[in-house]
Symmetry: D2
Subunit: 304 residues, 4 copies
């Protein structure tokens, strides 16, 4: 498969959509990013890498980080994790408090904010230095020690993060957040602030594309079955209330972030990361969605 | 892969669960079925068939029929269908009116009852004899002209089907049901009443497991992309509010029915049907779920 | 209190609002009514009557009828009625199915459509000729045998009444509608079709304004406590999701209808009916609301 | 009317219910109160006072305080207050976040927690020393400078008040809480911690029972119309999701608190306060509800 040529063709084909959508601007650090950027990187399971455009520019991965924190929590808690968070699509917007209240504090899945805050609490309870451990795990996945948190982004998020604070308080009320609310929120926002390039992300998602290779990164060890199940959750829950749409149009397990990034895997073939800051009404990258739809159409490689 | 041996081992392993759950009994025709039956059939894409236990006993396929009606409607309407029904998981029980009301009559997906009633309306509007056309399509998929509706089941369902009648009236109120309510409901219940065996179902789902073969059955022609997208919708929406669970445990696109049947596909490998009437609290076959979970664990063949 | 002068002053004061709002037009019989009409009638508990403008024009009383059917059902069932319908404000739009589904078929109160349909079922179950009995009761309340159903309105309502049919089916599903759905709906729509003038309504609500007089009309006998409790339910539930607003601005128990009528009582003082077809966004008469607000402001007579 | 005798008779009649229900125990200060106490006090608008049992024991008035804070906010903001809080019954439990989220941060009414927190924010924004001003107002209403906050109760509430903190954060997210969250919550919990006896409360509610007397207490001046409208809101919203029930059974505007107190007014006749810590499933005092139901039945004095 000539991925390099395909990436170049895709880019030409999606250029007409380059001004569609709006970048997130709820914190200064996101508002200041040039919205008219695009990068993409494919990494096959045998390690070949194909990039196009700004594949080496780092951006705020935001919610894509939830895949890493889920992997880490599943590695240390095993199936006990599922007592505190579900694995069903939510059917409502990613930050909805309604379901959380109706279901007495057990978030629907680890990829809505409530679920990711519970996962952060699990890690904060388990480790003395969860921030250090988490970063070490992500660096190990990427094989790149330059990956780091962006403190300014994390601080900005916390300063305006009233909705996440509401969620954390509601979780605490229902007994499903055990640590100190401020500490857990700070850790949660730090996780989201990690800056990575498409190349970094493609590399970090590589192990999820190949359940046959051992998953041992930093302190985190996952079984083949756990790797596949993380993919299953990405498939049904990775795109908030556009999960069905992504599954329908793209047909790969993936996870998006409000910074404009999307990472996805084609099991036993490749991992892919794409980035473009302009978002559609559901909070997912316009050009990123288009690029991945064309990718699986051209290659005829999807999980279905 | 020695599927025959695997099926036999799976059956032995799930026997301890044979008395778990309760068969549906809301209509006499379902209540009278012996609940302690089990059948399974795998059909590979090159046509080999592996059966175990009562794979040739016919049962009421119920909601599994929604895959056939979606395929038929997509074949004749194309993407125009998506103006009348969505493709997102619902997040609520399969028969919930709440979402339908909040979203002004556009059902979340074609596999909740509201969505399937809209699909029935689409077919009833398009064809003079939708009942005949639909049956011809299903017979063609199975290559078996003995497949038929069960009028008694259909009549029973309609006689007690107040919730579906409520849904149909609500759709009509919102302008998303164009035909006569009674006619559409009768057609809908007829579709659900089709009686098939595991062998029939494995055969009928064969074309969904292999998007590379042409999909031309009766009057219905689908593109490879349409076939894959039907699988995508099964993946995210095929199991009501247990879609995430099935994706997580089994990792295949599939569809369940309240008669105790489940059909699923492993793209480019096989289609599979399993049947056992006792249901879990979410309305899915207890032994059927277990059997498929073991199948993908043993074979290490899932879409992830 | 010089009610006649007050009514005339009020009318002058509300004239600037005469073109605000829109009359209901979902059935032809309502759409054909001249929207620019206004009538008002006060009847004191000692029988004096004060009218202004078109107080003798008959209009479709619509939901105001729910007070009469509640009174009749309470008269024959007593407190057993409350097993089938609640008496709490609903907090959602008058026709919402959400609450009904969440609360398993027991409507919040007898003044939302679901509750009134249950009340109609109660009467249809109790009487061989509920239509005749109900009409006799209303005629007796008014002391006017010319009061009648408007068959054309009732037929129109049923022909387009998909939402109410959805509600009736949902009630049936939950076991809280015992009769035949079509018969109950027909009776319900007949009740709503009664045509009355402001003078008729003021007369019919007279007995609710004076719990000290015996309440014996047709076959219906109520205790003083039952009369007061019907007022209490009007107070908290009489104006759909504008009940708080009416209580706040007007301060009287009352009931509105989509035909533009409002009837209210000032206990131990008077009953009042006002009519003007143009409705606000909540479905209540614009001029009717203003007129009653001014009435209790001028007279300083409210229940608070 | 021989209120003293009536109070004594009522007490005898409700004694069989003395062990029904459970006192609130979510904070130590409430858990330590002897649950088997009862007090009642009526104060007529001409100043006569009738007490029975422990009418002089002070208890935590909790949500009853919301009447005072509403009065104070209405006095200083006038109708501008209604831009930030509604006046409709909520239809859901008093602490529900669902409605607040659906209605974008404007609480349904000032008596649910969200509404009272907005009112606290209004006062905290308006005054340099809101705590002092509020206490002065309540003391002035009671004519008793011994009335005070209970700091221990307020601190306990805050320490476990995760649900209210969630609400405050959600209000902040929607832009309807302007001050510092911690400061507003502290003020809110202080308000709820005020300790008063039945005699104090009957006195403090006296001015709400008589809109003809000038309402000038401390810095707070209300018009007759404002007084009546506060009563109207008590009527429709004073008892959480039991407002309809209280209106139906008792027929007076009133407000309850989780400490077991209820205050109510019979306009132009009397104010009444009752206290007994054991609560029913809706969070309202069992004996208090019964006592007031009997009071309006015996005296035949209700607003209907």
């Amino acid at each position: 498969m000539d991925y390099q040529r395909i990436l170049e063709e895709i880019y030409r084909e999606i250029l007409p959509f380059a001004r569609e959508g709006r970048a997130a601007d709820y914190i200064p650090a996101l508002a200041e990013v040039d919205p008219d950027q695009f990068g993409i990187c494919i990494r096959t399971i045998d390690g070949a890498t194909y990039c196009h455009e700004r594949a080496d520019v780092r951006f705020s991965i935001q919610s894509i980080t939830k895949v890493f924190s889920l992997a880490m929590a599943l590695g240390c808690e095993g199936d006990a994790l599922w007592r505190r968070v579900g694995r069903e699509p939510s059917g409502t917007a990613f930050n909805s408090l309604v379901q959380l209240e109706a279901e007495r504090g057990v978030p629907r899945n680890p990829f809505i904010n409530a679920g990711a805050i519970v996962v952060a609490d699990v890690l904060a309870e388990r480790f003395d230095d969860p921030e250090g451990r988490f970063l070490a795990f992500v660096r190990s996945l990427c094989g790149n020690d330059a990956i780091d948190y962006d403190d300014e982004v994390a601080r900005s998020e916390r300063a305006t993060g009233y909705l996440n604070a509401a969620i954390a308080n509601l979780l605490k009320y229902h007994g499903n957040l055990r640590g100190d609310i401020e500490r857990v929120l700070r850790f949660y926002f730090l996780q989201c602030s990690v800056a990575m390039s498409c190349r970094d992300l493609a590399c970090a998602f590589g192990p999820f594309a190949d359940h046959r290779a051992p998953f041992v990164f930093g302190d985190v060890t996952l079984t083949a079955s756990q790797v596949k199940r993380i993919n299953a959750i990405m498939q049904t829950c990775g795109f908030y209330d556009e999960a069905g749409e992504f599954s329908f149009l793209v047909g790969l397990p993936g996870k998006s972030g409000v910074g404009g990034g999307i990472a996805a895997v084609c099991p036993q073939k490749y991992s892919v990361a794409v980035w473009s800051p302009r978002l559609n009404g559901k909070g997912n990258s316009v050009m990123g969605m288009k690029a991945l739809e064309l990718l699986t159409t051209r290659t005829e490689e999807s999980i279905f």
